[in-house]
Structure formats: structure tokens, C-alpha cells
């Protein structure tokens, strides 16, 4: 028996492995914004004093609010041979579920990491493993393409869409409709972008919208300013690329907006990454 153990140990000698004393914790941290996601952490180890390789697997259901969800796992004494992280349920897009696997001491709030083995986004098709997968940051990769339906503000109010905590967006386009009341005035809607406090961009607009009309405005990254023949479709340009951090806002700023004027049908398209929070 002892000889077999030595032989088995000799077989794994030379491969990439970590000796664990039994006191270490493997921590899986997941940042996620997609619905119904479950992530599986699986691995293989050669226990100290054992004579065969054992496998383990555990699953974590992350929150969808981009905050870290954590699972601590103590594998025991022995050699850690490999780890993998895959999506066990749900269909997150690239950029919606980011996983980190670390080894450290302690657990919960006392956990202290001393090594990162896996860090990358995962999708149903993109699994990551140690050893083998590169360690990547949450902003690496193409990001998730999302179409978002915004808040229809009450009559007389401007629109304001806020980048969620823990997200980074690249705004591709935004479309909004303004229906004006019968009150005579020349409304000039513009799109303002602020960081939650200071406005750092405002699209210029020289075309006014009069009373009792409906106009749809499209703001596109890299696009020019155009008005169609009937005047009910207007486009405006935005900076390219246009990155927005958590707490940044997209707001309309409309000269002479009247109490009975109504913005609606707010739709925008973004690439989204997880900053984590």
C-alpha cells in the first residue's frame, strides 16, 4: 500500500500542482448581472496519505446585482491537481459573469488570499481552468451587448438613466420619443451626460420641436446630425467611444420643456462589463 502511494505521488510529481496543508481555503468569488446563473467549481486532488486521486465539485448561485458572491471551500491536506469553473445554469453573455478562484487562509471576512488561480468571465461556452487559462481582468473581452428599456418619466420630466453600481457601459445608441402638449413653445431636447454630479457632455441641437407633435430622437455614438423629411425622426451624434462608469447618468436636457410634454419609449444599446462592487 505504501509503495502504491509513493508510486502515485511520483506520477503527479512534475505536474503543476499545489501542496495544501489542510488549513487553506479555496475561495470562489463571482460577480454577476445575468439572471438564473449558477456557477460550478470542480477540481481534482491527491490527498495526503491517500492512494488515489479524488474529485470534488460545488456550486454557487451569485446575486444579479454585480456585488461579489463568495463561496469558501476547504479541500483538506494534499496536492491540488486542477480546478475548473463553468456555468452550470443560466445563459450569461461574455461580460456578465466574472469568476475569481483564490487560495488563501481563513474564511469569511478573515480570508486572506495569497494566490489567484483563475480569473475570467465565463459563459456556457467559455469555461476556465487552472492550470491553463490565463488570468484576465473583468474589463477584458468584448463585453455583453444589451438593449435596455429605460424609465418613462412622468409628464414634464426629463429622462435620466443611471449606470448601475458595479457596471461599466459603452453607450452605442439611445432612442427616445417626445410628445409635446398643445402649449406653444419651442422645445429643444439635448442629451447630457454627467458623472452623477458634473455634466461633462451635452449634445448640441438647433432644431426645435413645436406644440402637439411627436418626434423620435436617436443619439448614436459616432453618428451625425440628421432630420428626416417629415421632421419626426432626428439623430444626434455622441463621442466615440463613449464609456460610462457606475453612477454616470444619461439625461435629456430640454429647453422650454412644458408640464404636459411626455418622454417615452426610452431604449438604449450598450456594451457592458463588470467593474465589480
Amino acid at each position: 500500500m505504501a509503495d502504491e502511494v509513493i508510486t502515485a505521488k511520483a506520477r503527479i510529481a512534475g505536474t503543476v500542482q499545489r501542496y495544501l496543508t489542510g488549513a487553506e481555503t479555496i475561495r470562489l468569488t463571482v460577480f454577476n448581472s445575468a439572471a438564473n446563473v449558477r456557477v460550478q467549481l470542480a477540481g481534482r486532488r491527491f490527498p495526503y496519505g491517500g492512494d488515489t486521486v479524488s474529485e470534488f465539485a460545488t456550486q454557487l448561485t451569485p446575486t444579479t446585482n454585480r456585488l461579489a458572491t463568495v463561496l469558501d471551500f476547504t479541500p483538506g491536506e494534499g496536492w491540488l491537481l486542477g480546478l475548473s469553473v463553468r456555468v452550470a445554469a443560466g445563459s450569461p453573455l461574455d461580460g456578465q459573469t466574472y469568476c475569481v478562484v483564490e487560495i488563501g487562509n481563513g474564511a469569511g471576512s478573515t480570508f486572506q488570499a495569497f494566490d489567484t488561480l483563475i480569473a475570467d468571465t465565463v459563459t456556457a461556452a467559455h469555461r476556465v481552468a487552472w492550470p491553463g487559462s490565463p488570468v484576465r481582468g473583468p474589463l477584458d473581452g468584448p463585453g455583453a451587448l444589451r438593449t435596455i428599456l429605460g424609465t418613462n418619466p412622468g409628464a414634464g420630466n426629463e429622462i435620466a438613466e443611471t449606470v448601475p453600481t458595479g457596471a461599466r457601459w459603452q453607450l452605442m445608441s439611445l432612442r427616445v420619443q417626445l410628445v409635446t402638449s398643445a402649449t406653444v413653445a419651442n422645445r429643444i431636447p439635448e442629451l447630457a451626460i454627467d458623472d452623477g454630479t458634473s455634466t461633462w457632455f451635452q449634445s448640441a441641437n438647433s432644431v426645435s420641436q413645436v406644440a402637439s407633435t411627436t418626434v423620435r430622437y436617436s443619439f448614436g455614438s459616432g453618428y451625425g446630425s440628421l432630420v428626416n423629411g417629415s421632421g419626426n425622426e432626428q439623430s444626434r451624434g455622441l463621442p466615440t467611444p463613449l464609456f460610462l462608469g457606475g453612477g454616470y447618468r444619461l439625461r435629456t436636457s430640454t429647453s422650454a420643456l412644458q408640464v404636459g410634454d411626455v418622454f417615452s419609449a426610452i431604449v438604449y444599446n450598450v456594451r457592458e462589463w463588470l467593474e465589480g462592487a
Partner: protein, 113 residues
């Protein structure tokens, strides 16, 4: 679909792709600011009030009340005044164990439609 009890905005808390939507109330509109200033129910920050007061003063003998009003209008349009008791559903850090993450500002809640 829900309605924010502070700003009256309506929205879907869950998007078509299943992800969460975090509503935050817009700042006061230009009309609301003007109304608040007229009725004296809106207290501007001191710096903004000074800008407004300065804009309304006649600069010299050639200045006109119409010019002053145009300057006042420009200042009013430049103001960003957050809505009193605004709702902001974005998370404000991690909550206590077993508890949902706290919102930045619950405002007056929402009404399910």
C-alpha cells in the same frame, strides 16, 4: 411594471433579458425649478443662487431687462437640482449576511401597476 412614488416614472424592474433594472429619479426639470423658484419652495445651493442673482442684475447702462432675463434663463437651464427624497435603487455596498444589499435611497417606494 411599477411607478416610482417620488418622480412618477414607470419602468420594468426586470428587463427582457432577465437582468435587474435599477431606477434612479431624474433631477428636477426646468419647469419644476422655475416653479420652485417662483413659489419660493426651492432652496438653491448658495453658489447657484449667487449665479442666478448676478445674472438678473443689469450690467451697465446699455443692458436691458430682456438681456438680464436671457442670462437668468441660461443659468436656470444649467442647474442640476436633485429631486427631494429621490429614489435610487442602486446598491450601496454589501448587506448584512442573509440580507439583500441596501439601496442607495429608497425614496417613497414604488406602486405596482
Amino acid at each position: 411594471m411599477v411607478r416610482c412614488n417620488v418622480c412618477g416614472g414607470t419602468y420594468e424592474p426586470i428587463q427582457r433579458d432577465g437582468s435587474q433594472y435599477f431606477h434612479a429619479c431624474p433631477p428636477l426639470s426646468e419647469a419644476e425649478i422655475r416653479d420652485g423658484l417662483t413659489k419660493k419652495t426651492l432652496q438653491l445651493p448658495a453658489a447657484d443662487q449667487k449665479r442666478l442673482d448676478d445674472a438678473g442684475k443689469l450690467i451697465d447702462a446699455n443692458d436691458t431687462p430682456q438681456n438680464a432675463q436671457a442670462r437668468v434663463d441660461a443659468v436656470v437651464r444649467s442647474l442640476t437640482i436633485e429631486r427631494p427624497n429621490k429614489r435610487d435603487e442602486n446598491v450601496a455596498g454589501v448587506g448584512a449576511p442573509g440580507q439583500p444589499a441596501p439601496q442607495k435611497a429608497p425614496g417613497a417606494g414604488v406602486t405596482k401597476l
